[in-house]
């Protein structure tokens, strides 16, 4: 499974890309593969305050429901509204067009507590 070097990862299989004071969040290639074809994404609300580890939304495939947890704390400042009609982007491009939301964070070190790509690859392919 693909896990880009420049991202950070949670144990719940979310990825984080820090861009200035925002953290873009999605689910990993490993997660989308395990879920199978995604047919519905329940997105968080813009403006919602989330704490690391708290429920952020849900991803549903033809076979199951999976909860998405906030990989870090902050305010949701953007959601990928395209997913309402094209949830399959989570399968086809989990690190690109299939991003889920953006969370405003304090600074570039906000993701320091998360795994780097090597550690995440170890977790998913021990």
């Amino acid at each position: 499974m693909n896990a880009p070097d420049e991202l950070r990862y949670s144990e719940d299989h979310e990825w984080v890309r820090i861009e200035g004071d925002r953290a873009r969040v999605g689910i990993t290639d490993y997660a989308q593969d395990a879920l199978g074809d995604v047919v519905f994404v329940d997105l968080p609300e813009v403006g919602a305050e989330v704490a690391a580890g708290a429920l952020l939304g849900e991803v549903e495939s033809t076979k199951s429901v999976s909860e998405i947890y906030a990989p870090l704390s902050g305010t949701v400042v953007a959601v990928n509204a395209v997913l309402a009609d094209q949830p399959e982007l989570l399968n086809s491009n989990p690190y690109g067009d299939g991003w889920i939301c953006e969370i405003a964070v304090a600074g570039p070190d906000a993701a320091d507590g998360l795994m780097d790509a090597d550690a995440y690859r170890q977790l998913t392919n021990p």
């Binding site: 199978g36 074809d37 047919v39 519905f40 329940d42 549903e60 033809t62 076979k63 429901v65 309402a84 949830p87 399959e88 399968n91």
Partner: protein, 366 residues
């Protein structure tokens, strides 16, 4: 995992890159690399091939075979002839469905009875016939172009009728074919000796038939409004409640469960199976509450996203008030029905089954 049974076609599935899953004690393909949605659409628009070797085969043969089946199973074999297949139930004394079954009537005194994988032991005990499941693989080729594509490889199967059963020979392989399936499309099922099944699989793949897994099999049968044992059917559910009165051979004098069904027919069923269409893509799931004017009146037994209709669909049982036709009195408007799950309300409306009709999407592209 080591205790799971594997299909004679297991190696083919592994080399196809299939994701495997446990089902009814078997390790079977859930989806191939194209994924469940693509497999589903390929079946509705053209044709796909499933390995359904996990279905059981119980052979009932001999001069008393017909009578044994008549006394044990609900449907009436007197309605068909040798060379035909019939959908039927094994009931318990309360009229509950122990299993739903397809019977292939091979010749005058030989029947292949095909139960669900997890119920095969139950059916073997009831019919006292040998379990010949391990001797064959079963391929289900389904879709509007299924028969045409099969006939390109096996010409003698051209013209196979719906529910027709016949033997065929292909390059030294002696096997059986039936015009049956579980997708709501026309199709063919082939029972092939295990050792030779791989050759037939490869020939059909090379003819252009894509493989499909149990994920698509489930979404297809749901769109077709077909019941799945353990969901819409089970030991505590009668065929009348499930809307399958046509599976009951009322003219037969005796079969297991008859008395209970006769009572239910005259007193009326306590619940009925209904279909629902959800507004929006969120899949309703088994266990969701069915709400009528905010009052819980039943439970969803199967639900998912409909790949063809692109919204959620569900089946479930709705309580029937004594003497009533059902909860709906004909005055229902928008907003009267909903499904509740995980603290959320999905607005829904009653929908006729099948949700998708045979051939509705034949030749469409997506």
């Amino acid at each position: 995992m080591s205790t799971l049974r594997q299909s004679p076609l297991h190696d083919q599935h592994v080399s196809e890159g299939a994701k495997l899953t446990e089902f009814g004690g078997w390790e079977m393909p859930l989806a191939y690399p194209e994924g469940t949605l693509a497999e589903h659409r390929a079946c509705r628009t053209g044709a796909v091939m499933f390995d359904v070797s996990h279905l059981g085969t119980v052979r009932v043969a001999g001069s008393d075979a017909f009578e044994r089946l008549q006394q044990t199973l609900s449907n009436d074999l007197g309605r068909i002839t040798p060379g035909r297949a019939q959908y039927t139930h094994l009931l318990n004394a309360d009229g509950g469905v122990e299993d739903d079954i397809i019977v292939w009537w091979l010749d005058d005194t030989t029947f292949d009875v095909m139960p669900n994988a997890s119920n095969t032991t139950r059916v073997v005990e009831a019919l006292r016939g040998p379990d010949v499941t391990a001797e064959r693989a079963v391929l289900a080729i389904q879709g509007p172009t299924a028969l045409t594509m099969v006939a390109q490889v096996i010409p003698e199967l051209a013209g196979l009728g719906r529910f027709q059963v016949r033997p065929f020979n292909w390059n030294g392989v002696a096997a059986w074919a039936a015009g049956t399936g579980y997708t709501g499309e026309s199709g063919v099922e082939l029972a092939i000796p295990s050792q030779q099944a791989g050759r037939v699989w490869v020939a059909l793949r090379e003819a252009g038939l894509p493989p499909a897994g149990l994920g698509a099999r489930d979404t297809l049968r749901l769109e077709a409004g077909l019941p799945l044992h353990g969901h819409e059917l089970g030991p505590g559910i009668t065929p009348l409640e499930a809307g399958l009165g046509w599976v009951v051979g009322w003219d037969k004098e005796a079969f297991i469960g008859r008395e209970a069904l006769v009572r239910e027919r005259s007193a009326g069923s306590r619940r009925r199976l209904a279909g629902f269409a959800v507004d929006g893509r969120q899949p309703p799931r088994e266990g969701a509450e069915i709400l009528h004017r905010a009052t819980p009146v039943g439970m969803v037994t199967s639900g998912n996203f409909s790949p063809m209709l692109e919204h959620g669909i569900a089946m479930g049982f709705v309580e029937v008030e004594p003497g009533g036709e059902g909860t709906s009195d004909g005055s229902d408007g928008d907003g009267d029905w909903a499904l509740g799950q995980r603290g959320r309300i999905l607005s829904a409306r009653p929908a006729a089954r099948p949700f998708v009709t045979p051939g509705q999407f034949a030749g469409h592209s997506f």
